[in-house]
């Protein structure tokens, strides 16, 4: 297949990616959108196999089979609660692939480079005579790919709690990171001046980018992982972009930058939802800066019987879920209670904060899994203006995203973060295991509110007993 024909097919693939992303804009068309995007990918891959550069198919087959089996198994098996970990791992493997593609591009032969830039006398010496521009893009691909890979692995470790989810900070951290960056650039420049396959600088750059990814993510606490995942997602796109420049391939650049843009937008949304700048998320360990004013007061516990009586009389109920709901696996009983309340004539909604859960939109997926129709899922900005008219707000496993200290207490680490104002609802139920503070370790004055009732115990059991009251 000629280069022109291949590129024509790439245009088709790019169009499919674009249509696919467009259709992701509504739950009704999203499945089709994803399929279109997958078809685009399929076309791009098949067409690339026809490229005149591709000679040895057996190795490709080996790689594809191994990758497909692992990918398919992981996608089938993963629980919806651990979706953030899954995305982090997929991201990491994409990043590693970019690193390797960049590295392999140095060997030049798989490269559709203009004639003057093709490896000269590959057998004679290890020196490569690719253009400086190509070397720079190769380095970028290695650098971004490497840090995406190691950063994603650390993010996965924090989310899966195989390592501490706390921010790891030490004294000269910024200095060390700055030194690391300088060393990276220096080695990159040294390599670009004299590119060679055996150059020690190449290996140093690879090593340092991996280290840099680790160093960049460890000072970020578990509560901020949604931001990190979005950002790494963006990096993996940029890494693909850089690899595209390195091997002169349009489709890599188009697809990579679409992903890059997606990641940046989501990162931005997350940061806004926490009222923090990206720099603040990346460079300051959460909770390490300020200590909130201690709140004290008396909580008003209730039992399931009383909760039932209040819920039965309510004409509008909104559930505010957080990651705790997923931990307690309570989403199915929550949906059941929601249906009973609807049957009882109440208007039921599920109000979801943009950073609830551990990645953007995580709660929506969990509720959708429990068969909550998506038209009942409402966003923070939709529910807040009418929360005064809500009879009962049921907070399940959420803490920071409903913490009034974010509005009132200037000393609170989460001060300024937009929250769902459940404290303005007529009655608030807080389902909580005990009186411990949330993921970010911030005290919550909501628990002491005049209209707040605490329903202590396992969320799933508490709701089940309310359901039993309804049925009984």
């Amino acid at each position: 297949m000629s280069v022109e024909l291949i590129n024509l097919w790439y245009i088709v693939a790019a169009a499919l990616f674009i249509f696919g992303l467009k259709q992701l804009g509504s739950p009704a068309t999203a499945v089709r959108g994803n399929l279109l995007s997958a078809i685009g990918m399929f076309i791009a891959v098949v067409v690339s196999l026809f490229s005149r550069d591709v000679i040895e198919f057996q190795w490709i087959a080996v790689g594809v089979v191994i990758g497909s089996v692992i990918g398919a198994l992981a996608a089938q098996k993963v629980a919806m609660t651990s979706m953030p970990e899954m995305v982090a791992l997929f991201n990491g493997s994409g990043g590693l692939a970019s690193l390797l593609v960049g590295w392999a591009a140095l060997y030049g032969s798989g490269n559709a480079l203009p004639a003057e830039a093709v490896v000269s006398g590959a057998a004679a010496s290890a020196a490569v005579s690719v253009s400086t521009f190509t070397v720079i893009t190769i380095l970028l691909s290695v650098l971004i790919g490497g840090m995406t890979f190691s950063g994603s692995i650390i993010a996965w470790g924090k989310l899966a709690e195989v390592m501490t989810s706390r921010a790891i900070v030490f004294g000269a951290q910024r200095l060390v990171n700055a030194a690391l960056l300088v060393a990276l650039i220096a080695c990159g420049v040294m390599f670009a001046m004299e590119p060679s396959l055996t150059s020690p600088y190449l290996y140093i750059v690879i090593g340092l980018s991996l280290l840099f990814g680790v160093m960049a993510v460890i000072p970020i606490g578990g509560a901020d992982m949604p931001v990190v995942i979005s950002l790494l997602n963006s990096y993996s796109g940029l890494a693909a972009c850089a690899a595209g420049f390195a091997i002169n391939n349009n489709i890599l650049i188009v697809a990579g930058s679409l992903v890059g843009a997606a990641g940046i937008i989501l990162t931005n949304i997350m940061c806004k939802a926490m009222n923090r700048s990206l720099a603040n998320v990346l460079f300051s360990g959460f909770g390490a800066v300020k200590t909130a004013t201690k709140v004290e007061g008396e909580v008003k516990p209730i039992v399931a019987d009383d909760a039932f009586l209040i819920l039965e009389a309510a004409s509008s109920v909104t559930f505010v879920p957080g990651y705790g709901m997923a931990v307690a696996q309570a989403q199915h009983v929550v949906r059941e209670l929601g249906e009973l309340l609807e049957g009882n004539g109440a208007e039921v909604t599920y109000a979801i904060h943009p950073v609830a859960g551990r990645m953007p939109g995580h709660m929506n997926v969990l509720l959708a899994e429990a068969n909550v129709p998506y038209d009942q899922l409402v966003e923070m900005d939709d529910i807040n203006p009418r929360i005064d008219n809500i009879d009962v707000a049921v907070v399940i496993g959420a803490n920071d995203v409903v913490n009034p200290a974010a509005r009132e207490d200037e000393n609170s680490p989460i001060y300024g973060m937009p929250i769902i104002n459940v404290d303005s609802a007529r009655t608030v139920f807080v389902l909580k295991r005990s009186m411990a503070s949330g993921f970010s370790g911030v005290d919550n004055p909501l628990f002491f509110g005049e209209n707040t009732r605490m329903l202590f115990g396992d969320a799933k059991e508490s709701i089940s007993s309310v359901i039993a009251e309804f049925k009984g």
Binding site: S37, M41, A75, N250, A261, G263, G361, H362, A368
Partner: protein, 103 residues
């Protein structure tokens, strides 16, 4: 000149990406992210060229490993996105139940 054309493509795609993605509702952000993530597995195309190039042994090894990892990204990403998206359902049987029927 080639590089300039590529940069042109890059610039346009980034703007297009911003336009497309900012229209996706918060409800779908998780599938969006994993779907976008699957697209970033496009590096597979680059990996294919490297591993099948018949160049040096090292290039083949690097390329093959890259193919494997990129395929994990692509196959896993699309499948898991599909799995998530198929769970999003509209409220059944109610004809005008959409926005609480407020008039």
């Amino acid at each position: 000149m080639e590089a300039v054309f590529l940069a042109f493509v890059l610039m346009l795609s980034i703007f297009l990406g911003f336009e497309l993605i900012s229209k996706v509702p918060a409800t779908l952000h998780t599938p969006l992210m994993s779907g976008a993530n699957a697209i970033s597995g496009i590096t597979l195309v680059g990996a294919l060229a490297s591993s099948g190039a018949g160049g040096s042994e090292m290039a083949t090894i690097l390329g093959t490993v890259a193919v494997a990892f990129a395929t994990i990204n692509v196959v896993g990403g699309y499948m898991v996105t599909n799995r998530m998206l198929s769970m999003f359902k509209k409220k059944p049987t109610e004809p005008v139940g959409d926005q609480g029927g407020r008039s």
